[in-house]
C-alpha cells in the first residue's frame, strides 16, 4: 500500500467523524422525534399531520435517504482528498 500510516490514520478518523455526525442526525429524527418525543411533537400540526406522527411514519424515511446521499458525497470528497479513490 502506497499510503503512509499517519495518512491512513487521519483518513480513518475523518471517516469516523463523518459517520458519527450523520448517525447522530439519524438517531435524532427516528428515535428522538419518532419515538421519545413523539407525544410532545404531536401537539404541533404539520400540513395536516401531527408532527411526531409524521416523523415516525414518513419524515424519518425522507431524512434517511438524504443522509445516505450526503454520506456518499462526503466520502467521495474525502477519498479524493486523501487520494484513495478508485
Amino acid at each position: 500500500m502506497s499510503m503512509s500510516v499517519e495518512k491512513a490514520k487521519a483518513y480513518w478518523s475523518e471517516n469516523l467523524r463523518i459517520i458519527s455526525t450523520y448517525l447522530v442526525i439519524w438517531f435524532i429524527v427516528s428515535y428522538g422525534f419518532g419515538i421519545l418525543f413523539v407525544e410532545q411533537l404531536n401537539a404541533i400540526q404539520f400540513f395536516g399531520f401531527p408532527l411526531g406522527f409524521w416523523f415516525a411514519q414518513q419524515g424519518s424515511i425522507f431524512v434517511f435517504v438524504v443522509l445516505i446521499w450526503a454520506y456518499v458525497f462526503s466520502m467521495n470528497k474525502l477519498d479524493e482528498k486523501y487520494d484513495v479513490h478508485e
Binding site: 500500500m1 499510503m3 491512513a8 483518513y11 480513518w12 471517516n15 459517520i19 450523520y22 448517525l23 439519524w26 427516528s30 428515535y31 419518532g34 419515538i35 421519545l36 413523539v38 404531536n42 404539520f46 400540513f47 395536516g48 399531520f49 401531527p50 406522527f53 409524521w54 415516525a56 411514519q57 414518513q58 424519518s60 424515511i61 425522507f62 434517511f64 435517504v65 443522509l67 445516505i68 446521499w69 454520506y71 456518499v72 466520502m75 467521495n76 477519498d79 484513495v84 479513490h85 478508485e86
Partner: protein, 599 residues
C-alpha cells in the same frame, strides 16, 4: 376484459419476462453464480436490492399492519428503512473492499476461525429459511385468490419459476430478474395508491394526501382518529406500545435489517467501494418510494373499510348488499362474519367477533348465505363505548390486495396488484435461496469440508443446494408451520444479535479477536433465542417481560450483550495476528478493491 383474464395476462406476462431474462443471464462460473461477476451497475444493484428486500411482508402485510395498529406500525416503517443507513455507513463499503462472496466468508477470514465461520453459516441458514417460508406462502395466497387454483398448486408454480432462474442463472440471473421485478412491484403498489389517494382526498400523492382535508372539514388523520375512537379502537395517531418497547423493537429491526445476509451479499456484486455506497443510496430511494406510500394506503384503506362496512349512517350494511370483495375474501377464509345481534347487518367495531380472534370455518352457510363458523364469541359486547359488538374478522394481510376492490378501481389495477405481490414474494425468495445455496456450497463444502473441489464441482453443489432449498421452502409453503409470524421475530433477532455486531466489530475494532467474536456471538444468540422461545413458544406472559421489552425487541439486548462480552473477552485474550490487523487496515481504505474473489 374480465378480471380473471387480465390477471392471467399480467402474471403470465411477468413470468415470461423473468424466464427470458434468466435464459439471457445464465451463470457460467462460481463468480457469476455468487456475485453476478461483480460488474453490476449501482442503479441496477439498487433496484435489485430493493426487490430483494421488499418481500411479501412489505408488499402485502405492512400496509395492513399499519392500517390496523396505526402509530405503532411506525417501528416497521422506520426500522426497515433506517437499517439502510447503518448498512451504507457501517457495513457495505468495507465488506465490498474485503471482496469475498458471503457473510460467513468475512466472519471466517477476519476472525481466522472455522468455528466462527460455522456459527455464521448456521445463522445465515436459519435466518434465510425462516424468511423464505413466508414468501412461498404469500405466492400461494395470491394464486389461490386470483387464479382460483388451490394454495398448494400456487406454491408449486412459484417454486418452478424460482427454480428456473435461481438454479440456472445464480446471482446473475437473480439480479437482472430482480430489476424487472422491482419495476413490476413498484408500479403495482403506487398505481393503486395514486388512485386511492386521488379518490379519497383529491391529492395525487399518498404522501401528501394523508395530510389533506376531507369534505367534513377535518384532515384524514383527524377523521381516522374520530372513526377509530367512535368504534372503541384507540385513536389512529396514538401509540399503545410503551416507549421503551418501541425503542428497542425499532433498533432490533434496524440492526436486523443491516445484518440480513441476503441483503449484505448484494453489495458484493458492484465493481467498486464507491459503488457499494452509491447503490445503498439508490436502494433506499427505491425502497422509500414504496414505504412512504404505505402510511397513505393504510390510512385510506382504513377509512374505506370502516365506511363500507358500517355504511354512511354508521349502523352496518346488510350482508346481502355487501360488495363482492367481502364475499370473495370470505371464501378465501380471510374475512369472517357472524350476526351477533340478528339484524342481518354487518357491523365492525373493536373487540373479538370470534372466540380466540380468528373464525374457524365449518361446512355450510347461515341464514344470509355467510360461511358458518364453530367459534362465534358467545358473549359479544360493545367495548369502549362502541355502538355495537364487533361481528367481523378482517385479516390484516388482505388490506393491500383488497384495497383496489374496496375502492372500486378498474380491473387492470387489481390484476397489476396481483402480479406485483407475486413479484415481491418471488424476488425475495430467490435472493434467500441463493444465500442458502451459497452458504452450503461455498462456506460449508469448499471452505470447511473439502477445500479441494474444483470451481465446476462447487458450482454443481451450489445448484444442487439451491434445488434442495427450493423443495424445503416449498414444503413449508404448503405446510406452513403455525409459527411463521413468531419465527420472523427470530430471524430479525438473530441477525441483530449475532451477524450485525460481529461484522461491525470486525471492521471498526482492530483489537477484536477470534475468542471475543465467538463468545460474543454465542452469548447474543443464546440470550435472544432463549427469550424469544420462552415468550413465543412456552407461554411466557407480557408482565414477565424484562424492562417491558417484547420478544421482538429483545434482539437489541442480545446485541448489547454481544458487544459487551466480545470486548471483555478480547481484552483478556491475545490480540489478533499481524496479518489480520493488516486486513482490517486494508478494508478501511477504498482503493484497490478489484472484483470479488474466492481466495
Amino acid at each position: 376484459m374480465s378480471l380473471d383474464l387480465l390477471t392471467y395476462l399480467f402474471i403470465g406476462g411477468s413470468f415470461a419476462l423473468y424466464i427470458g431474462i434468466a435464459i439471457w443471464a445464465r451463470a457460467g462460473s462460481t463468480k457469476e453464480f455468487y456475485v453476478a461477476g461483480g460488474g453490476v451497475h449501482p442503479v441496477a444493484n439498487g433496484m435489485a436490492t430493493a426487490a430483494d428486500w421488499m418481500s411479501a411482508a412489505s408488499f402485502i402485510s405492512l400496509a395492513g399492519i399499519v392500517s390496523f395498529v396505526g402509530r405503532d406500525g411506525s417501528a416497521y416503517l422506520m426500522g426497515w428503512t433506517g437499517g439502510y443507513v447503518l448498512l451504507a455507513m457501517l457495513l457495505a463499503p468495507y465488506l465490498r473492499k474485503f471482496g469475498k462472496f458471503t457473510v460467513p466468508d468475512f466472519v471466517g477470514d477476519r476472525y481466522y476461525s472455522n468455528t466462527a465461520r460455522t456459527i455464521a453459516v448456521v445463522c445465515t441458514i436459519v435466518i434465510s429459511f425462516t424468511y423464505v417460508a413466508g414468501q412461498m406462502r404469500g405466492v400461494g395466497i395470491v394464486f389461490s385468490r386470483y387464479l382460483h387454483v388451490d394454495i398448494n398448486t400456487g406454491v408449486v408454480i412459484g417454486m418452478a419459476i424460482v427454480f428456473f432462474y435461481a438454479v440456472l442463472g445464480g446471482m446473475k440471473g437473480i439480479t437482472y430478474t430482480q430489476v424487472a421485478q422491482y419495476c413490476v412491484l413498484i408500479l403495482a403498489f403506487t398505481v393503486p395508491a395514486f388512485f386511492l389517494s386521488a379518490q379519497v382526498t383529491g391529492h395525487f400523492l399518498p404522501q401528501t394526501g394523508l395530510g389533506a382535508t376531507l369534505g367534513n372539514g377535518q384532515s384524514v388523520l383527524a377523521t381516522l382518529d374520530q372513526l377509530s375512537t367512535d368504534l372503541g379502537f384507540k385513536a389512529y395517531t396514538e401509540g399503545s406500545k410503551s416507549t421503551v418497547d418501541m425503542f428497542f423493537f425499532t433498533i432490533a429491526l434496524m440492526a436486523g435489517t443491516a445484518g440480513l445476509p441476503h441483503v449484505i451479499v448484494r453489495f458484493f456484486t458492484v465493481p467498486r467501494v464507491k459503488d457499494a455506497r452509491t447503490s445503498a443510496g439508490w436502494a433506499l430511494i427505491f425502497i422509500a418510494i414504496l414505504y412512504t406510500s404505505i402510511p397513505g394506503v393504510a390510512g385510506f384503506g382504513r377509512v374505506n373499510l370502516i365506511q363500507t362496512v358500517n355504511g354512511a349512517d354508521n349502523t352496518g350494511t346488510a350482508y346481502e348488499s355487501m360488495p363482492s370483495w367481502f364475499k370473495n375474501w370470505e371464501n378465501s377464509g380471510l374475512i369472517g362474519w357472524v350476526d351477533h345481534n340478528g339484524d342481518g347487518k354487518v357491523q365492525y367495531a373493536a373487540g373479538n367477533a370470534f372466540e380466540g380472534g380468528k373464525p374457524n370455518f365449518i361446512e355450510g352457510t347461515g341464514e344470509h348465505g355467510e360461511r358458518m363458523v364453530s367459534n362465534p364469541n358467545t358473549a359479544p359486547v360493545a367495548v369502549n363505548g362502541a355502538p355495537f359488538a364487533n361481528e367481523v374478522y378482517v385479516d390484516r394481510d388482505i388490506m393491500v390486495l383488497a384495497n383496489p376492490e374496496i375502492a372500486n378501481l378498474p380491473n387492470w389495477v387489481i390484476a397489476l396488484v396481483a402480479a406485483g405481490a407475486v413479484a415481491a414474494a418471488l424476488s425475495t425468495a430467490a435472493g434467500l435461496l441463493l444465500v442458502i445455496s451459497t452458504s452450503i456450497s461455498h462456506d460449508l463444502m469448499k471452505k470447511t469440508i473439502n477445500p479441494n473441489i474444483t470451481d465446476k464441482q462447487e458450482l454443481m453443489y451450489a445448484r444442487l443446494a439451491a434445488v434442495v432449498a427450493i423443495c424445503v421452502a416449498g414444503y413449508f409453503g404448503i405446510n406452513p408451520p403455525g409459527f411463521v409470524a413468531q419465527v420472523v421475530a427470530l430471524a430479525f433477532g438473530l441477525a441483530c444479535a449475532s451477524v450485525f455486531p460481529v461484522i461491525v466489530m470486525g471492521i471498526f475494532s482492530k483489537r477484536m479477536n477470534t475468542q471475543g467474536a465467538i463468545t460474543g456471538m454465542v452469548v447474543g444468540l443464546v440470550v435472544t433465542m432463549a427469550y424469544i422461545i420462552y415468550f413465543k413458544f412456552m407461554g411466557g406472559s407480557a408482565d414477565q417481560w424484562i424492562f417491558g421489552i417484547s420478544p421482538e425487541g429483545f434482539g437489541t439486548v442480545g446485541m448489547l450483550l454481544n458487544f459487551a462480552t466480545a470486548y471483555t473477552v478480547a481484552a483478556m485474550t491475545p490480540e489478533p495476528p499481524e496479518d489480520i490487523q493488516h486486513i482490517v487496515e486494508d478494508i478501511r481504505i477504498p482503493r484497490g478493491a478489484g472484483t470479488a474473489h474466492a481466495h
